[in-house]
Point group: C2
């Protein structure tokens, strides 16, 4: 595989933007290289993920977001206001231990977000 200009730009964009959707990555890349196509962005994100240079997280709604592999964290998504908070992965260590012991399940804390209600929305009125 060749590190083409397009691929380098996509990787740079992911590193710079932090949890950006493919669409957002594409727009960022197009500021420098307007002809780069969204198809290339999707293909490159796939490739970079197989090389363990980026990873994606499903926030629940809509498109997944991509981050550089260095930034491993757990995402807390508020399903009331949509806000995304990042918290340290080691918060899941106990849970991961329990899941491994009881179910043989090897947890990947960064691939799916945790959903709930953020502080502000809790204060603004209940859990529902």
């Amino acid at each position: 595989m060749r590190m083409t200009p397009q691929r380098q730009l996509v990787l740079d964009a992911v590193r710079e933007l932090r949890h950006a959707t493919p669409e957002q990555v594409c727009q960022h890349v197009q500021r420098t290289a307007p002809t780069v196509n969204i198809t290339t962005v999707y293909r490159t994100l796939d490739l970079l993920e197989r090389l363990n240079l980026v990873r994606h997280t499903h926030l629940g709604h809509g498109a997944p977001t991509y981050s550089a592999d260095e930034h491993e964290h757990v995402h807390l998504v508020c399903h009331r206001c949509g806000r995304v908070e990042e918290v340290p992965c080691d918060l899941l260590d106990d849970l991961a231990g329990t899941l491994r012991q009881r179910f043989g399940f090897d947890l990947d804390g960064s691939h799916l977000a945790l959903s709930g209600t953020c502080r502000d929305c809790v204060n603004a009125g209940g859990t529902a």
Copy 2:
């Protein structure tokens, strides 16, 4: 709001199928009432969710799945083989307490799944 035949069939299907996608709910309903449209299924699932009769979970990839509100559980999704396991919600109690204390975040354990590698896939060869 009226509990129309269509709505009752959708609710019955969700209760019967357990974590089914809108598409699967629609197919099930159509075995009894072939003219029921997928649009009606989407609208009804929305409605039933606002009434707290059903809830949906994002498994990561593809369409969300719907369950009757009684079946609250945490979903473990294997990102290697796609298998979905259901485990008791109280496994998250400690984590929920920590998140509430440290971030004011009120965790909803059933809305998003946990991702990782299941026992069989771990045994079949590593974590990646």
